[in-house]
């Protein structure tokens, strides 16, 4: 009989279940994984080094491109860090808008996650459903910033502009006209807030549909229950945050514990798992979508009742209005200085974190009295999660690797930076 030895296989970097450019070197004993060595960095763009070479505001757009499925949450982390260094605070309406868009982003992210995770494990239908709903939320992004994904909407001192009073409508086409056109435009008669309210009425039913498809599905449970189990102690040691930590039963959410924006004014719950396996993390994320929907509804209500400024009135940091710039010499000078040089940030260092859909997204900034950050470090939740890959898949079957990659909800934009 020939001697049977362990062998290594190469998983990725081009693999449909690798969620991007993950290269995994798997040492296998038959179907069982002995050791997994993830190779990351294939998408490394040096975002932090780039940020050191340009004024503070120029890097907001780079934040969208880190975790490219939860764009505005990344912006929030960066902007919060600058605001801390400058010792300024955005007006209350901007805080509510940020809260609302953070939660819209959370739903966007979790829909993307459930779609692709489902697809990896053989649930094709869900992918199509999830992407159908994502389309509405991207329309909200577009209405407010002009871009469907990379919004660059948050600014130090507030948000770029107030919510629009109207929603763009679908145009008539060969396939959509008459009654059908009226139907697709029926949500779009009012303002953006009306549109979002329509969505929040519609969405809970859809989550119920996803649950019907998955929660008691035999195949789904076979692929997720008891897979990638992490104990609470290990989860803390491994630097898990967000749903990965809560799935293991640790009740920790920055929105509650270190509240920011308008979260302390709102009513919502934090779902927590019990067993720390893929299935529990699935349940946690599904419930988070329900809670996000609830938060959005409260924000819409508040925003409808409370008009006001969305940007700080401090021309040293925020640009003056077009009107003021044309009529007032001082505003013109401020505008010129802001757009040619940017604002300078006093010497110091600050770390600000937000509860991004994937976990704690933090930005550590070091400033040296200049108009550019001296050092920026992005703390990406996915980086800590994927570093636990070996521990989570060791001893399980090859097919479970796909389930574990899915449950980590990894996006290489933020891991490789």
């Amino acid at each position: 009989m020939s001697e049977i030895k362990n062998y290594t296989i190469n998983f990725g970097p081009q693999h449909p279940a690798a969620h991007g450019v993950l290269r995994l070197i798997l040492e296998m004993d038959g179907e069982v994984i002995v050791h997994a060595d993830p190779h990351v960095g294939l998408l490394h763009r040096g975002t932090e080094k780039l940020a050191e070479s340009k004024p503070f505001n120029h890097s907001i757009g780079y934040m969208d491109r880190l975790d490219y499925v939860s764009m505005m949450c990344n912006e929030h982390g960066y902007v919060k860090s600058i605001e801390k260094l400058l010792n300024i605070e955005a007006p209350i309406r901007a805080q509510y808008i940020r809260t609302m868009f953070d939660e819209i982003t959370r739903i966007l992210n979790h829909l993307m996650w459930i779609g692709t995770h489902g697809l990896d494990l053989g649930a094709m239908t869900l992918f199509l459903y999830a992407f159908r709903e994502r389309e509405y939320l991207m329309d909200c992004y577009e209405a407010v910033s002009g871009a469907r994904m990379h919004a660059t909407y948050y600014r130090p001192g507030g948000v770029y502009r107030d919510l629009p009073d109207y929603m763009p409508k679908h145009a008539e086409s060969k396939w959509t006209k008459g009654k059908a056109l009226k139907e697709v435009n029926s949500w779009r008669e009012g303002s953006l807030l009306d549109f979002i309210e329509h969505f929040t009425d519609y969405f809970p039913e859809k989550i119920a549909e996803y649950r019907t498809l998955l929660t008691d599905n035999r195949i789904w449970k076979q692929r997720t229950v008891g897979i990638g189990v992490v104990s609470p102690e290990r989860a803390l040691q491994l630097g898990f945050t967000g749903p990965m930590l809560r799935g293991s039963g640790v009740e920790w959410d920055l929105r509650k514990k270190q509240s920011y924006a308008a979260y302390d004014q709102l009513d919502f719950d934090i779902p927590v798992g019990v067993n720390g396996d893929s299935y529990d993390r699935y349940l946690v994320r599904m419930e988070e979508m329900v809670q996000s929907n609830k938060i959005i509804r409260q924000c819409v209500k508040w925003l409808k009742e409370n008009p006001g400024p969305v940007m700080l009135d401090d021309y040293k940091v925020t640009p003056p209005t077009r009107d003021a710039m044309k009529n007032d010499m001082e505003s013109l000078i401020h505008h010129f200085k802001l757009f040619t040089e940017g604002y300078t940030v006093p010497k110091g260092e600050a770390y600000a974190a937000v509860e991004a859909p994937k976990g704690e997204f933090g930005v550590y900034l070091v400033a040296d009295d200049s108009n550019k950050p001296f050092r920026m470090k992005v703390r990406a939740p996915g980086f800590a999660h994927i570093s636990a890959m070996n521990e989570m898949v060791k001893g399980s079957m090859l097919a479970d690797v796909v389930s574990v990659i899915g449950t980590m909800d990894i996006v290489f934009g933020e891991i490789d930076r």
Binding site: V40, G41, H44, G46, E48, K49, L50, S53, K54, P55, K84, L85, N87, R234, L236, Q237, L238, G239, T241, V250, W252, K257, Q258, K316, T340, E341, G342, T344, P346, K347, G348, E349, A350, Y351, A353, E360, G362, Y364, V366, D368, D369, S370, N371, K372, F374, R375, K377, R379, F383, A384, S387, A388, D416, R417
Partner: protein, 235 residues
């Protein structure tokens, strides 16, 4: 709450910490490499701290800290060129510039989180100026330090003593240099292209010139100066 943490840290560690700074409601502890592991272990296990999570670990290079590319203190008659022709970081190749040895150039910065007491702490450890650029590894105290330390090694060349698997992580296989050091050019040193004759991807020196569109400008804004004075009076 932060002032009480500051007091606790001072009384508990005493000489083990070399400096303690409180700014923007955040506390930064400076620890020497010698005491690095001991302080961290106590921060994790002592019941008044219980920093059970290491949130982030990163390197930092203080070369050119506080150096601007455009002197704005005096009036100049040379117009726009004063911004473009200045020799500041990012505009020249480092071989041409004399670099003097800098004290306290590299540091490792760690962010800790205590779930029990709901507080954060920043630790800073300057690597020794002479000899090997080495700091003890924290991998035995927080497992997550593994990849973060690999990253800091990759980007800054800081060696973590006791790390079992200190490989490059973010840069290319076979990469030369440590790209996040301030004396590493933003445009890099090599570029890749597919060579048709050789039938493979080859590396060549970069063919572009470094260019800065907006110079780094140091300004001591009066508003902040006032704030600073107030703070100093208080503290």
């Amino acid at each position: 709450m932060n002032t009480s943490l500051e007091k606790q840290l001072k009384s508990h560690f005493g000489d083990l910490i070399s400096n303690i700074v409180s700014q923007h409601g955040e506390i930064t502890l400076e620890v020497s490499p010698k005491n690095w592991q001991q302080v961290c272990l106590q921060l994790r296990d002592d019941s008044q701290f219980l920093f059970s999570q290491l949130i982030d670990l990163c390197g930092i290079d203080y070369l050119t800290f506080g150096e601007g590319e455009w002197q704005t203190d005096g009036v100049s008659s040379t117009g726009f060129s004063r911004g473009i022709k200045q020799k500041g970081p990012g505009r020249f190749s480092w071989e041409e510039r004399e670099t003097e040895l800098m004290e306290k150039r590299f540091a490792v910065v760690v962010h800790l989180l205590s779930l029990e007491h709901n507080m954060r702490l920043r630790l800073k450890c300057f690597a020794p100026d002479t000899g090997v650029l080495a700091v003890p590894s924290l991998i035995k105290i927080w497992s997550v330090a593994n990849w973060f330390e690999r990253e800091a090694f990759d980007l800054f060349g800081i060696i973590f003593v006791g790390h079992p698997d200190l490989r490059r992580i973010l840069t290319d296989y076979g990469f030369i240099g440590h790209p996040f050091r301030k004396d590493f050019p933003l445009i890099g040193n090599v570029e890749v292209r597919y060579d048709e004759e050789q039938g493979r991807v080859i590396y060549e020196p970069v063919s572009i010139e470094p260019r800065v569109t907006i110079p780094k400008t140091i300004r001591k804004d009066a508003r902040y100066a006032e704030n600073q004075e107030e703070l100093e009076e208080e503290g």
